[in-house]
């Protein structure tokens, strides 16, 4: 990661000037606030905000014993796994299909990738509109099937709603990466297997899928990251964490407790825990990337 060019420019001051804008922004808006979050997660402010006292791990202990927090953690896990599985399955199916086509593949690709550019909050609005109980088309069809859809009262319905909206937005991403992965599978392997008499289904499961495993693993991490942190807009536009906390995922809870509820200590402790989760995900991702580069 750290090599320079064989020959370099001899200037002594210039590199610092070139780096200055990036470093200043990073220090002021990333490192400093992150440090503040860590600091205030160990402190308690008195009700008037006049003094703060050190309370050690109290916020963390309380958080990890708080059934509401543990519940939010569990719901986030359900949400992340469901969105990841759903969007990856759809993405893979579509990529396999496009990869079989010679000429029309490009048109299908164009028609499939654009949801990536739709804002999460708009994705939330669109699906909310389809599922709302008075005018929603899908709520109507479900009603015909005997299902009384109401994500304002039914927590499971609310969770399904945000899962669908989040997965809808992410299919295009998974599709593109799976397609790139499929296109790098050596053709000779497929042909050799075909000559040996194995059909398309067998070839897919014994040759293509194993060769795709690096892509699959990479996408798994990226998707978990996406559902945990980039879906705030979807939740805010559809359920706002409700009903009765059913969709109060971790990111939304930090916002609710800290920005709306003004509970700084607990919110900071939540932020620090979230940062730990991102660190773990990033480290896993980079370890894997190193391996892929050698491969």
């Amino acid at each position: 990661m750290m090599d320079t060019k064989r020959t370099i420019f001899p200037n002594r001051v210039m590199p610092y000037l070139l780096l200055a804008p990036q470093l200043v922004i990073t220090l002021v808006f990333f490192i400093w606030p992150a440090g503040q979050a860590v600091k205030s997660s160990f402190e308690r402010e008195d009700p008037f905000g006049l003094s703060t006292s050190f309370v050690g791990f109290q916020h963390y202990v309380r958080l990890l014993r708080d059934p509401l927090y543990l519940d939010s953690l569990a719901r986030t896990a359900v949400f992340a796994v469901a969105v990841t599985a759903l969007s990856m399955a759809f993405g893979l199916a579509l990529a396999v299909a496009v990869n079989r086509l010679v000429r029309s593949g490009r048109i299908y690709t164009t028609l499939l990738v654009w949801p990536y550019a739709v804002a999460p909050v708009i994705a939330g609005l669109l699906w909310w509109f389809l599922f709302n109980s008075t005018t929603g088309v899908l709520a109507y069809f479900l009603g015909q099937l005997g299902i009384r859809w109401d994500h304002n009262l039914n927590g499971t319905h609310a969770m399904i709603l945000i899962i669908i909206a989040a997965a809808w937005k992410q299919v295009s991403y998974n599709f593109l990466f799976f397609l790139a992965g499929l296109q790098s599978v050596p053709h000779s392997l497929i042909e050799a297997a075909a000559i040996d008499g194995s059909g398309p289904v067998k070839r897919f499961f014994t040759i293509v899928l194993p060769l795709l495993s690096p892509t699959t693993f990479f996408l798994f991490i990226v998707n978990v990251n996406y559902t945990m942190f980039d879906t705030f807009g979807i939740v805010d536009a559809t359920t706002a964490g409700g009903p009765a906390q059913a969709t109060n995922i971790l990111v939304y809870k930090v916002y609710n407790d800290g920005y709306l509820g003004l509970n700084l200590g607990s919110s900071s402790a939540q932020s620090v825990l979230l940062m730990l989760i991102v660190v773990v995900l990033t480290v896993i991702q980079f370890r894997y990337v190193e391996r892929r580069v050698q491969y």
């Binding site: 992150a34 005018t135 075909a194 942190f229 800290g258």
Partner: protein, 282 residues
């Protein structure tokens, strides 16, 4: 294709057509809703064919008089979204290309430290540090301003890594020749490195424009003055009004219009988009 199997080809097209339909369905319904009057939409289940009020609804959304319920007019919010997206795009590209240049073409003390400081931004998405970052921005008096909306989102490890990666592949001979010719680092950067990076910059522009345009949480935190609301916030607030019926036909027209710029960018610059996406994602 290895062998010709008509049934499988049929199945392939079936899967893809179904996929395209499912992907497009929510937007189709939104478009339909945007062509009817509010009476039709409130009156019950919405129709599945377009109504005759397309031009009427869209002109109403786009007119300056669309300001209502404490919201600014739609064109002003669109301008804010555009400003925010463009500042983030160019800001990110500018600071990351300069730092990549410094890291690859110079040796200096604390190089490793600088590298790690940049790397750490990868691990701190704005969502996990909203409260402290909000406090910093408030203390600096940057609430309700373009700098407040954009600068905290501008630092980017991925763009820096992308340029670093690319600079490492630029032949050393180019730089040696430039030095023999007596040109300094800035001249080399401007005349050789920048033109060579054109495609990378363009691909990044596509990705970052989308990133900036769809921001929601950050503008929600730092703007209380409606004059700085972006489209994403405005649409959410059009739905969340307390008194009166939600004007679904206008909300959906607004949503369609707000989707259009980034979606068009993806469709028209598909090659750059795919390149940007697959290369910035580590």
């Amino acid at each position: 294709m290895v062998e010709n199997r008509p049934f499988l080809t049929f199945l392939t097209h079936l899967v893809l057509v179904a996929g395209v339909v499912i992907v497009a369905f929510p937007v189709y319904v939104a478009f339909i809703a945007s062509t009817h009057t509010s009476e039709v939409l409130v009156g019950g289940i919405i129709p599945l064919l377009p109504g005759g009020h397309l031009i009427e609804n869209y002109t109403q959304v786009l007119s300056a008089s669309s300001a209502a319920n404490g919201l600014p007019s739609y064109p002003l919010m669109a301008l804010n979204s555009l400003g925010m997206a463009l500042i983030i795009t160019f800001g990110k590209i500018a600071i990351s290309i300069l730092s990549a240049f410094a890291i690859v073409y110079f040796r200096f003390r604390f190089r490793l430290l600088a590298f790690w400081i940049i790397f750490i931004t990868l691990m701190l998405p704005v969502e996990v540090r909203i409260i402290p970052t909000y406090k910093v921005v408030a203390d600096l008096g940057m609430l309700n301003s373009y700098p407040g909306l954009t600068v905290p989102l501008i630092a980017s490890a991925t763009a820096t890594f992308l340029f670093r990666q690319f600079f490492m592949t630029v032949p050393d001979e180019l730089m040696e020749a430039a030095r023999v010719d007596g040109s300094g680092p800035l001249k080399f950067f401007r005349d050789i490195l920048l033109p060579l990076s054109r495609t990378n910059i363009a691909a990044l522009c596509v990705i970052l424009f989308i990133y900036g345009w769809i921001q929601y949480l950050w503008p929600l935190l730092v703007t209380t003055d409606p004059g700085y609301y972006t489209l994403m916030m405005g649409l959410k607030r059009m739905v969340a009004i307390q008194d009166g019926e939600v004007q679904w036909h206008l909300v959906m027209a607004g949503a369609i219009l707000a989707m259009l710029p980034p979606v068009l960018v993806v469709i028209l610059m598909q090659r750059l988009f795919i390149r940007g996406l697959t290369e910035t994602e580590k």
